[in-house]
């Protein structure tokens, strides 16, 4: 059994999911990728929006308006920093 993800791991997974989709992801895709319930994902997304790590944008398609989440520069910086921290702490088995 794998260990429970910490809050920071979940934030990292959400931001990774957005980055992996080229910096822009649909809410439903984020829901699958982040492996969270809808309620918990909403809570995390709100927190990330408040901290300026992601932003919600609306794009007009042929028929309807579609919402997307995009990763900000601060979000990319956080991802880069956390990836390094994780690599080092993993090396020490923390």
């Amino acid at each position: 059994m794998t260990a429970r993800r910490s809050q920071i791991d979940i934030v990292f997974d959400i931001l990774m999911a957005v980055q992996a989709k080229g910096g822009k992801i649909k809410p439903t895709h984020l829901l699958y990728k982040s492996n969270l319930s809808h309620t918990r994902m909403k809570k995390y997304v709100e927190e990330l929006k408040q901290k300026g790590l992601i932003a919600e944008i609306s794009e007009r398609t042929r028929k309807t308006d579609r919402n997307f989440f995009t990763i900000s520069d601060a979000g990319l910086r956080f991802l880069n920093d956390y990836r390094k921290v994780k690599e080092l702490t993993d090396a020490f088995g923390l």
Partner: protein, 233 residues
């Protein structure tokens, strides 16, 4: 005939240089650990950072004590223990040696104790606080008695390092990443260094001292290389 410094006279300068280098590497890891703590707000990163701060401070204490005696020209002062009981002028210097050695041993052993607890598997990490308290008491006792004989310190440090290295080996087997392998080899080199000091304790002028210093240099170079590898990406 007891000597007042930690290492043989002929390697003074080189040992201080190596201690400064090791201290800087330990400080860099402590800063990285603190950065991890600020980012993740997880206490284990704070303790990890504290362990490396202790190692840095222990090297500073050791280097200052050695330098003090080298500059005072007392590195081979005979009969320091007897001088203490007779109230000889060397008494103040002897106390500096005792305090320097106490700080060095205490901080090193506490750092190893923290690293040992952190390097355990998450399931085993919740060790009973009474056992941690008992181990801490032993660490203080060994540190207090270490001025008389270095052997006890090297034995305890070796025991800690063997367990830490074994935990890093398990981690390296499960993660299979280059940094985890480098950390394992770094701590294996430090364990080897400690083992060599055990034997060099009986013959401080032997080649074992040089090999021990080289082993430590290899250990800290590997730690520095791991840091650079991770942070230069």
């Amino acid at each position: 005939m007891p000597t007042l410094v930690f290492s043989p006279e002929w390697c003074h300068g080189f040992d201080t240089l190596l201690e400064s280098f090791s201290g800087i590497v330990a400080l860099l890891i402590a800063l990285a650990g603190y950065r991890a703590y600020k980012l993740a707000k997880d206490k284990k990163y704070f303790y990890f950072s504290a362990a490396f701060v202790f190692i840095t401070l222990s090297f500073i204490a050791r280097a200052f004590t050695t330098l003090y005696f080298v500059f005072r020209g007392l590195s081979d002062a005979p009969g320091a223990g007897i001088a203490q009981s007779l109230g000889h002028p060397i008494l103040g210097d002897f106390n500096i040696f005792v305090v320097g050695r106490f700080i060095y041993v205490l901080l090193t052993l506490f750092a190893y104790l923290i690293l040992l607890l952190l390097s355990m598997r998450p399931a085993d990490r919740k060790t009973d606080r009474r056992i941690i308290a008992l181990l801490s008491v032993f660490v203080v006792l060994f540190a207090a008695l270490s001025y008389a004989n270095s052997l006890a310190f090297y034995l305890v440090a070796l025991a800690f390092l063997i367990f830490i290295t074994a935990n890093f080996l398990n981690n390296c087997r499960s993660k299979r990443t280059t940094p985890s392998k480098l950390i394992f080899f770094a701590f294996a080199a430090m364990t080897f260094e400690c083992l060599l000091w055990l034997f060099a304790n009986y013959n401080p002028a032997s080649l074992l001292v040089v090999v021990a210093y080289l082993a430590r240099a290899v250990g800290y170079l590997l730690l520095l290389f791991t840091m650079l590898r991770v942070y230069r990406k």
